[in-house]
């Protein structure tokens, strides 16, 4: 059981912004003191470039960086820490895979996505498609906001060479049945990339159980600093996928004639990585593990049930995505008839409530749903029912005031 009021005390941001109700956690989360301390301690005590110095401080820096990798690998239940690649974020992780697969794809091959993908899981494939003359196809969603099984059946063809799917939709909140989808794709020899940006930090994740070939996420959406993300690479691709960047650290030897690369993970981490951010990510993992990911998920489910019930009682409000808490994560998009989401977000901001409004980097989904934009609230470990109540009260006031005007 999480006591969010108590958890909130771990986050200095809320001591500084006492009146703010922060409901934009799908965009980025706040950082606990433990993460800030880890970053500061790294700088104060052990700052030196990793993997290089033959002196103790550098060795300690390397140890901390690699220990963060081990923590992350346990957190997502990866078989081996060497399958954890530190990147800049989920976007870079997906781009790394897209670039890495380029040489294996032939003109006419197909990349299969879903219409609920974030731009980060659309554009890298479109760029690749343009270059390699591939086609990118999209699986539709049902009116309930889940993957359309019938359409999926039609869109898998012998030419499908990769399926890239989001674990949790950043608009609809839908939790996709990734394990089932992976099994289905693998039966046809299709590798699967999972965009875990909205799932990580919200529910227990086991890449071993999901069976996916790639799993991408960002640190800053799971209480860690920005600038660090992760790509989990399945064993099959660990040794064969080429690196995205060339440079220091990723090579075994360089001569004037050429170079040979290191093994994973070093192969994929050219240049000095965001060391302190990775250490911060390790601290965020420790913090989340202490709360317990099952408990975090249970806390979010309580908030979802509570919010959906209260929102459905308000007039003129439409909620998008599944209405069953089991099928969704703590991301709730909605619209209010007669008030544009941008106006709504600004009116809520005037009352110190931070929500997101717009297309949330998912323009194809909004076009598919025939809505120009939505307003979105999203939760994290420190979100309280009191936060939700303040949001709902203000929303109700706004709706009431504007409705009486007409």
């Amino acid at each position: 059981m999480i006591y969010p009021e108590k958890v909130k005390k771990d986050f200095p941001f809320f001591a500084h912004n006492k009146k703010l109700v922060y409901l934009d956690n799908a965009a980025t989360t706040q950082k606990p003191r433990a993460v800030m301390d880890a970053v500061r301690d790294f700088w104060v005590e052990t700052n030196a470039n990793i993997h290089r110095g033959i002196y103790r401080v550098s060795e300690e820096a390397t140890r901390q960086y690699e220990s963060a990798r081990t923590k992350v690998s346990r957190f997502i239940d990866a078989p081996d820490p060497r399958q954890i690649i530190f990147t800049k974020g989920a976007t870079e992780s997906i781009n790394l895979v897209a670039r890495g697969l380029a040489a294996r794809l032939k003109p006419g091959d197909e990349i299969l996505l879903t219409i609920m993908e974030h731009h980060a899981n659309i554009v890298p494939w479109q760029m690749l498609a343009r270059e390699r003359k591939l086609s990118v196809r999209f699986v539709n969603v049902t009116a309930r906001g889940t993957i359309d099984e019938k359409d999926l059946r039609v869109k898998i063809t012998p030419r499908t060479k990769l399926f890239a799917v989001t674990h949790v939709s950043n608009v609809l909140g839908t939790i996709n049945p990734v394990k089932k989808l992976v099994r289905r794709m693998h039966a046809r020899g299709i590798p699967v990339l999972v965009d875990g940006a909205q799932a990580i930090g919200h529910m227990p994740i086991s890449v071993r159980d999901l069976g996916c070939d790639f799993y991408a996420f960002s640190g800053h959406k799971m209480l860690a600093p920005s600038g660090v993300g992760v790509l989990y690479i399945g064993n099959k691709y660990c040794d064969t996928l080429p690196p995205l960047l060339g440079g220091g650290e990723m090579i075994r030897s360089v001569t004037t004639k050429g170079f040979t690369t290191q093994d994973a993970p070093a192969k994929f981490e050219a240049g000095t990585p965001p060391m302190e951010a990775a250490v911060g990510l390790g601290a965020a993992v420790t913090y989340l593990k202490k709360l317990g990911m099952r408990t975090v998920r249970a806390h979010e489910m309580l908030l979802i049930v509570y919010t959906l019930k209260k929102l459905s009682m308000l007039p003129l409000v439409t909620v998008f995505g599944p209405h069953n808490a089991k099928e969704r994560s703590g991301v709730i998009s909605f619209s209010v008839q007669g008030i544009h989401p941008h106006d709504l977000a600004e009116l809520l901001d005037h009352n110190n409530i931070a929500v997101r409004a717009g297309h949330h980097c998912a323009m194809p989904l909004h076009r598919y749903l025939r809505i120009p934009a939505t307003a979105r609230i999203s939760f994290s470990v420190y979100t309280t029912t009191r936060d939700i109540d303040r949001f709902l009260r203000t929303l109700q006031k706004i709706i009431h005031t504007t409705r009486h005007e007409h």
Binding site: L347, M363, P372, T402
Partner: protein, 129 residues
Amino acid sequence: MNIDAFRRLQEYAEHSPHRGKIKTPDIRAHGENALCGDTLTLTCLLINGKVTDVKFEHTGCALSAAAAARFSAQARGKTYEQLKKLSPDIFLRSLGIPVSPARIPCALLPLAVAQSGVPIRKAVKRKRA
């Protein structure tokens, strides 16, 4: 923006005499804000090269609606070229409310749309009428 400011914007746009469209315009401009899906169509009537009337059709937020109404009200007596060259800073100030950085594209939508204006060949239209 507080709720009063929001209502003022809404009312200003709603009661604007420039709402609607001119059936046989000299210039028609249409555009949208890709970020939020707001759409705006401007139709202009010119006499001796000067704007005598502008009407707007709009879907979207209260801020871009009010901006469209304000733009239309300012257009009279100017040439279309002058309208295209309207300073964004001066226009923002003329709205009379503070516009936050994230919402500047909403407030400047009519200026952006005006850039895409195309002259309509009226002779053809009149024959049909």
